[in-house]
């Protein structure tokens, strides 16, 4: 049901994301995920509310500082970064991706190969 007071927030969300600092942050996240800025902006506008979009820069900074310290596999796919700091991927989905990567490494695949596969799966989960 559409209420009278429900507004279309897409334009305002887009304005938040294209301000100087947010634009830099979106670019950095898109580069990390290996996707385009516009595609990522579309996902962010669809999934996040306005306060989370405003706080994107700070969360990204804290994620860079505190997320996934010590585990190279988790760090490679942004396990905590994309579930807790920038919640773009569902934690259960991320755990499945992580388990797949661990299984690949145990079966003898090179870490780089497993990471490339893991990153592709994370990108897929973000853009789905």
């Amino acid at each position: 049901m559409n209420y009278l007071y429900e507004k279309d927030l897409r334009q305002m969300k887009y304005t938040i994301l294209t301000s100087t600092r947010h634009d830099e942050t979106v670019h950095a996240i898109a580069r990390r995920l290996g996707t385009g800025d516009a595609k990522l902006r579309m996902v962010l506008i669809r999934r996040f509310d306005m306060s989370l979009l405003e706080n994107l820069e700070s969360r990204w900074q804290m994620g860079q500082e505190h997320a996934d310290n010590g585990d190279p596999v988790a760090e490679g796919i942004g396990y905590e970064l994309f579930t807790r700091f920038i919640p773009l991927v569902d934690p259960e989905v991320m755990q499945t991706i992580y388990n797949k990567m661990q299984a690949m490494i145990q079966e003898g695949s090179a870490i780089d190969e497993a990471l490339a596969r893991g990153k592709a799966l994370v990108r897929e989960a973000v853009l789905s």
Binding site: M12, L52, S58, R59
Partner: protein, 362 residues
């Protein structure tokens, strides 16, 4: 048996407890809040866009209009950013006077935040007591700067007005009165059984959640985040021996108590400043130059960052302002309110984080 349905409850944009328009959309299962979303856009000023291309003399006045409650710190951080870019030194007397103005502003802001909370939990008596005390603080801000709200007190290389000895004596007398009244108000808040029912264990945010959302100011300090007060790194505050107030409960009660504790700390800092006020000029002079930097100061609500790029005439080419409410409102909606056991706690929890929508929307 009572039927429980999932309901979306919108709070605001016009709500008796909100001071500014904002809409909180709460998804609930019975009384339990499953998730909350914040809708902004009801008072967007576009102040960063207005600032671009203007000389610093104009931007200085615009900066303090970002927020009416903590206007002094917006003035201070903007001016200190310009001083950092232009390598301008501040005379010691002016640096101490800046701290006095800033701490008076902090006391006024914290009292207003605690007033709002008491009003929200329907303790109107304490709320009115607090507002009454705030008047004395604003009178002293006027005594020092000539204005109660938008003071424009700080300029590159100093401050605009000196503190006369008779004004300093009157200020100390008023501060003693404020301190005595605030001790009474704090005792009422701390020992009130009904206040405890509405505040203790409500809207809890863990230290990890606070760090994840980059929560700042009293909201972060109430959740046990150490070393998050930027006054610890400010040269004048370091001279004054500033230490951070921290609590670990992370609930509404802790957030309000941190503000009460910081009020006493601010009063002590002002006393120290008046006691140790160095002689000398209040303006050192200097010329604003071309450059680019980010500079942060501790506002009443937390870390306030100005990122400024200027040209050789001191014109602001680009500016980005990150206010503390950007982080605190987000953390409030996604950590404190989510999983609240009663919809009645949403308003009080939201107000306990001292949200400033004017800051958030800029």
């Amino acid at each position: 048996m009572k039927k429980t349905v999932d309901v979306s409850i919108p709070l605001g944009p016009m709500h008796p407890c909100w001071k500014e328009p904002v809409r909180l959309k709460c998804e609930t299962a019975g009384e339990r809040v499953l998730r909350a979303e914040v809708e902004l856009g009801y008072m967007k000023k576009g102040i960063e866009r207005i600032m671009r291309g203007r000389p610093w003399q104009e931007v200085m006045f615009l900066a303090e209009r970002v927020c009416g409650i903590c206007s002094v710190i917006h003035n201070m951080v903007f001016i200190e950013t310009m001083e950092t870019i232009s390598d301008i030194a501040v005379p010691p007397r002016a640096a101490y006077l800046r701290v006095i103005a800033n701490e008076l502003d902090r006391v006024a802001s914290h009292i207003l935040a605690n007033f709002s909370y008491c009003y929200t939990i329907e303790h109107e008596t304490l709320a009115m007591y607090l507002l009454n005390t705030r008047e004395i603080v604003l009178d002293n801000l006027e005594r020092l700067t000539g204005s109660r709200i938008n003071t424009a007190y700080m300029i590159p290389g100093g401050v605009r007005f000196d503190l006369l000895p008779e004004d300093a004596t009157a200020m100390l007398a008023d501060l003693a009165k404020v301190e005595a009244e605030m001790r009474r108000h704090t005792r009422i808040f701390e020992t009130g059984p009904l206040i405890a029912l509405r505040s203790k264990g409500v809207g809890v945010m863990s230290r990890e959640e606070a760090i994840r959302a980059h929560t700042v100011g009293p909201t972060a300090r109430a959740s046990g985040v150490e070393d998050c007060d930027l006054r610890l790194r400010h040269p004048t505050y370091r001279e004054l021996g500033f230490t951070q107030v921290t609590r670990t409960e992370g609930d509404n009660f802790a957030r309000i108590m941190v503000r009460f504790q910081e009020i006493f700390q601010s009063i002590d800092l002002i006393r120290k400043c008046i006691d140790r006020l160095p002689d000398g000029p209040i303006r050192g002079g200097g010329l604003c130059k071309a450059g680019e930097t980010s500079y942060a100061g501790e506002a009443p609500r937390g870390e306030l960052t100005y990122s400024i790029k200027t040209d050789e005439y001191g014109r602001v080419l680009d500016i980005a302002i990150r206010t503390p409410s950007v982080m605190n409102i987000e953390a409030c909606a996604h950590s404190m309110i989510t999983d609240a056991t009663s919809i009645a706690d949403v308003t009080s929890t939201f107000i306990s984080s001292d949200p400033c929508i004017a800051c958030n929307e800029r």
